[in-house]
Amino acid sequence: MADDKSNAAAYWSANLRLIFGSLIVWALVSYGFAILLRPLLAGIPVGGTDLGFWFAQQGSILTFIAIIFHYAWRMNKLDEKYGLGE
């Protein structure tokens, strides 16, 4: 029982670490590159405008898709590793 408990706790903290890392990327591409840090990226030209504009209109959305699929893939591995999948 104690093993089960610590196993479950390890699974949950691995999940929280993964969520935390994913949210950093999520915030960096949207609130960072596309909004607050846009002036810093103004020098990098992309198709008639700058990299910040590209992140605001396309880059963030593409990154969001990658984050979700990466999370789903890693969580399936964790489910298996800790024997907590269905």
């Binding site: 609130y31 992309v46 605001a56 593409l62 969001f64 907590l84």
Partner: protein
């Protein structure tokens, strides 16, 4: 064949398809009705979620918002997609594991509180009803424009079709019709966009075309657009903005709101396993992105097309923009699509300086006034409703009549699919959370099913009535829907999953605090209960606290919700042991089983 006959054919064929699916997917049990039997494939559910999510507003209005808003409007793109990252990691898998039918069900059980359940029901109904009004009137507009019938008749037809497949099929019927509706709407949206991208940039993929070279002028498309709009006194399209705080909070509010909208969350109750809920959120975003990555291209290209229609000399390589802008098109030589849309009143022209030409520029800009005067302009003479950009695209690009028929079917599909999802969320909250859980716990499954169907029919009647008699504040209410979802539902769900110690009193106090502060902030600027003239402060950036718009306040409401909930929870009794066990069990996929009632 006339355009009318073609439109009728496309719309009629799409309706026949939806009704055929409805007959095939009748609901036999409450589980079928609420969660489509819990056996929907994650990719199928992703596609249905995309149709559920993309409303008449996404289909018809978003390109126009982007075209007129430029860089700031990117908030809509990021906000309405970034919410799915939160859903996939913070909500969907755990709520699927919990295995109940509705969002208030989770909140009521997790916080062992009838009050929490009822606050959630009220939030859900207010958010969903305000949202559904726009869908009904959107469907009405599409019908009246393309099928030459009155707006009223259009709304009644839309109500009848939704009634047929939602009341009989429940979530099961809605899921499979939404898949068909997604296919119709995405084809309708992308075909004209591909042709326009080809014409302007030679690149058939609109999202790449947006950052390619504008063939007629040889400079990048966005650079060309920046130049022509600033020659007419508008802000540069890609120009950065000063009020970053507001853009930050607006995007965050849209993300929290997206993750907290009940009609989206309940779609993830329909997949067989927890792992499927995670994949499904990814697929939903893929299908949504197909449209959301196309929309900014449609918006910017349509704006360029509109300007070069008015100022043909500004289209190619231009040495002297001042001369090009003086040489505006003569009104008598305007293209046919302008004439078509003038008949609907969505494009209007008034020759203010009596020169027989069309002048279209920013007459609100004080810096530009002297240039306009020097050119002999006496005010902008053309007014164009933003909503027509997508609908007029096939005509602007000279596409064959069947593409217009497709757009008609696509616009109606977008409106119907979202309306059906919202109506299901409303009716399940009424029949399951109010009738079964609150007033009549001994109701039989058959009785609950009947109650669900009757509340669905009643919800459709209310939505139809509001669609026919839209309250004057209809346009404002989207802020309300997102504000409520962001400030009250999203934080409650998150704390229910991620905090073992959050108790009933904390959750109720947090939800009320988030909800009330958000409502007060919105009503202060938009009018109390949206009654015109009752606003306490004028709704403009000078009066907003720290420049935060009422539309951006949901994120702050959410923070208030979290803070109040934790303070109250700290000073009151911890939740009982069985609730702690429940929270633990929600966190691990093992033993999820199918979505069930008990």
């Amino acid at each position: 064949m006339s355009q009318f006959a073609i439109n009728l054919l496309f719309v009629g064929a799409s309706f026949a398809l939806y009704i055929g699916i409805a007959i095939w997917a009748r609901a036999g049990s409450t589980k079928d009705f609420y969660v489509a039997g819990g056996g929907v494939h994650p990719v199928t559910n992703g596609m249905a979620t995309a149709a559920d999510w993309m409303s008449a507003a996404s289909f018809i209005s978003m390109a126009g918002l982007l075209a007129s808003g430029g860089y700031f409007a990117s908030s809509f793109l990021m906000g309405w997609t970034g919410g799915y990252v939160l859903l996939a990691m913070l909500l969907a898998p755990y709520l699927r594991k919990f295995g109940k039918f509705t969002v208030p069900d989770f909140i009521g059980d997790r916080f062992y509180s009838g009050a929490a359940r009822n606050i959630a029901v009220v939030c859900l109904i207010v958010a969903s009803v305000t949202y559904v009004i726009g869908q009904m009137s959107g469907a009405g507009v599409a019908f009246s424009r393309f099928l030459e019938i009155s707006n009223t008749a259009g709304i009644w037809i839309a109500a009848l079709i939704v009634f047929l497949y939602a009341v009989f099929g429940g979530m099961k019927g809605i899921t499979y019709t939404q898949v068909a509706q997604y296919v119709v709407l995405i084809i309708a949206y992308t075909i004209p966009a591909i042709f326009i991208a080809m014409q302007l940039t030679g690149n058939p993929i609109p999202m790449f075309g947006l950052f390619s070279t504008h063939e007629a002028s040889g400079v990048p498309l966005l650079e060309k657009l920046n130049t022509v709009v600033s020659e007419l006194g508008f802000r540069e399209y890609t120009a950065d903005i000063d009020n970053k705080l507001n853009m930050f909070l607006f995007t965050l509010s849209l993300m929290f709101g997206t993750a907290g909208l009940p009609h989206v969350i309940i779609r993830f109750f329909t997949v067989p396993k927890v792992a499927d809920a995670r994949w499904s959120a990814g697929w939903a975003l893929v299908f949504i992105a197909l449209l959301y990555l196309t929309a900014p291209a449609v918006g910017s290209m349509a704006r360029l097309n509109l300007i070069t229609t008015v100022y043909p000399e500004a289209a190619g390589q231009v040495e002297d923009y001042d001369a090009a802008m003086r040489d505006a098109i003569e009104y008598e030589e305007r293209p046919d699509w302008v004439k078509t849309w003038e008949e609907t009143g969505l494009i209007t022209f008034e020759d203010k300086n009596n020169d027989g030409r069309i002048q279209f520029y920013n007459d609100k800009s004080e810096e530009f006034a002297s240039i306009a005067e020097a050119r002999g302009w006496n005010g902008s003479e053309l007014s164009v409703n933003n909503d027509i950009l997508v609908l007029a695209n096939p005509e602007i690009a000279n596409l064959p009549p069947w593409v217009i028929g497709l757009i008609a079917a696509g616009g109606i599909a977008a409106a119907l699919s979202t309306a059906a999802g919202l109506l299901l969320a409303i009716s399940s909250a009424v029949s399951h959370d109010l009738i079964k859980k609150t007033f009549k716990p001994d109701i039989t499954e058959k009785g609950e099913m009947l109650a669900a169907r009757i509340s669905m029919a009643a919800a459709i009647l209310v939505a139809t009535y509001l669609g026919l008699n839209p309250p004057g504040f209809a346009a404002q209410t989207v802020a309300l829907a997102f504000g409520i979802a962001a400030a009250s539902i999203f934080p409650a769900l998150m704390m229910g999953i991620f905090s073992v110690t959050m108790n009933n009193k904390g959750a109720v106090a947090g939800m009320l605090a988030g909800l009330l502060t958000t409502l007060v902030y919105i009503f202060t600027y938009k009018g109390w209960l949206f009654i015109p003239g009752t606003n306490t402060l004028p709704d403009n950036v000078d009066n907003w606290i720290l420049g935060v718009s009422p539309l951006s306040f949901g994120a702050i409401g959410a923070v208030i919700n979290f803070a109040v909930a934790f303070i109250v929870a700290k000073s009151t009794d911890a939740p009982p042991a069985e609730i702690r066990e429940m929270v633990e069990s929600v966190r691990y996929p093992k033993g999820a089983g199918a979505a069930q009632d008990h």
